[in-house]
């Protein structure tokens, strides 16, 4: 990871990165918030005492209280439990779409940038088609036409973000293709595929990983917007956007139904943004 001549052990490297955190309060806050969100995703039972699906019509639309910290929704479900259990659903959808987009976009971009020629032209045109839409409109189109199912939602988000990974990987591969080490590898008789996989891809990988973090909050925004429009995860499954969509109709009667899931999106997006930026900054400094 760093250029020092002595090869430091893993623990020393971690300690070094951690020490630098003291001068980057924003990254630190981002990491703390992200760890908290991760805890909620992994152990929702620790944070919610109620079931996210248990209906209790007698206690519908109760304002936040000691038993229901975030209040209850229109059929008496605990909003806190729905937000807490929703974290796992919402964020796993975003993460799967991101990973898929990074793998597909990254692979196509590497190939396109390294090989060039006709392949580059063909991919470039296809990418232009996706890029010619505002992302949310493309998402609405795909989920709306294919139907509101989780797999379609992941598919739509993936397609929307493939172009961004494609462009980054492509320009990375083009820059690397002109490097002397590639020429050296070629003169040693390595095949194109081997150079691409073992050398070029490895050098472009960190940029793609950082980009994943930078794009995560954006994916979250679009995922929840589609949920809000009723094109994402369908009720009664708790998903942040879907909870907000439900709360919309009761906004003036029970604002807590919408306020808290929105706050959850805000905090998560903020945490991911701070981490993404911190990583990007470290990357640029190198």
């Amino acid at each position: 990871m760093n250029a020092s001549s002595v090869d430091p052990t893993f623990r020393q490297r971690v300690a070094k990165h951690a020490r630098r955190l003291r001068h980057e309060p924003d990254l630190l806050i981002g990491l703390v918030l992200s760890s908290f969100v991760l805890l909620v995703v992994l152990f929702p039972g620790l944070f919610a005492g109620h079931s996210p699906l248990a209906v209790n019509v007698d206690r519908a639309m109760e304002a936040p209280s000691a038993t229901h910290l975030f209040g209850t929704d229109d059929v008496g479900r605990d909003v806190l439990a729905r937000v807490v259990y929703g974290a796992r659903i919402t964020l796993s959808i975003c993460a799967s779409a991101l990973v898929l987009a990074a793998v597909i976009g990254g692979a196509l971009g590497l190939l396109s940038g390294f090989v060039g020629g006709r392949i580059d032209m063909l991919f470039g045109r296809l990418i232009d088609v996706v890029l010619s839409f505002p992302p949310i409109i493309f998402g609405v189109m795909v989920t709306g036409i294919l139907g509101p199912k989780t797999t379609n939602l992941i598919f739509a988000l993936t397609v929307v973000y493939v172009p961004l990974f494609f462009r980054i990987a492509r320009s990375g591969a083009m820059a690397e293709a002109g490097m002397i080490y590639v020429e050296a590898a070629r003169s040693m008789g390595l095949s194109q595929g081997r150079i691409l996989l073992r050398h070029v891809a490895r050098n472009v990988l960190p940029v793609i990983l950082v980009q994943c973090m930078v794009l995560f909050p954006l994916v979250l925004q679009i995922q929840s917007a589609l949920g809000f429009l009723g094109l994402g995860v369908q009720p009664p499954t708790p998903d942040w956007g879907a909870i907000l969509q439900q709360g919309k109709d009761y906004i003036l009667l029970a604002p807590w139904m919408s306020a808290f899931p929105g706050l959850a999106i805000l905090i998560t997006a903020l945490a991911l943004m701070l981490v993404g930026r911190g990583l990007q900054r470290r990357m640029d400094r190198r």
Binding site: D128, P134, I136, V142, L146, A225, L252, G262, I265
Partner: protein, 314 residues
Amino acid sequence: MGVYIAKRLAASAVTALLTSIVVFLLVRSVPGDVVGQMLGQTSDPVAAKALREFFGLDQPVWRQYANWLGRVLAGDFGTSWTRGQPVMGMVGSALGVTIQLAAATLVLATAIGVPLGILAAIYEGRAPDRIVQAFNLLGLAAPVFWIGLMLLVGMSSSFDWSPPLMYVPLHESVSENLSIIALPVLSLALLQAAAYSQFVRQSIVSALGQDYVRTAVAKGLSTRTVFFRHLLRNIGIPLVTFMGLILIQILGGAVIIESLFALPGLGRLLLSSIETRDYPVLQAGLLVVVVIAMLVNLVVDLSYRIIDPRVRLS
């Protein structure tokens, strides 16, 4: 210049054509069509067949596309399958609403974002900068529909005011129109103002470290001259690019905000045409969105040349 514009327009036309093919195929690749929606589950097969023939849905997809494209090139977008009105008129009036929304948002976002960005850059690292940066982060992290909902709650609980439910066009009543679009514009503008101010701050801070600024200051030019004549001109290009990006973003955000505030704009039209599988409206609406996005990009690229004579268009 003329050659460049022609080349760009040709490239845009190719992309628009490809896009229309993709949309056409996507729309027709899924089960269910407008006839199923009209007649319901227990439909009479004879009537269904007749209706499909009427809409041309019985023909092979490529022929349907060729027919559609031929008519579009002649300026005819057809008739809505569900409402029976000319598609052109429907898209046109919806576009008017969205354009008003986008223009008002762009103006407001610029008016908030640019001064904030300049302020933050001037006080880099000090309290005003920190406050502006906190605003930027929150503005970028908050979902736009949530801001809209919270504004609704805030307005109704503190002023006992909520916007009218029926949309009124600007030419019918200015005050009613403004009170309807006020909250949608504000919700969209807060997000974009945050993006704007962050961008302006970043551009100025990095420009301040450049040699040309140091030279200008060393020559003894006043801060005002350095700022307006040297610095602003140099960050002009990225600023214009950014405005284009913002405009396209607003177009997307409008879909969400229009459905929340029940504004009869392009976004709502797209959503409803997807729901009812009203293909002619959907295709025309999407085509309009894509063409607008392309034109915005073209205008952005052309304005480079006006701002900065060094730019050679290739």
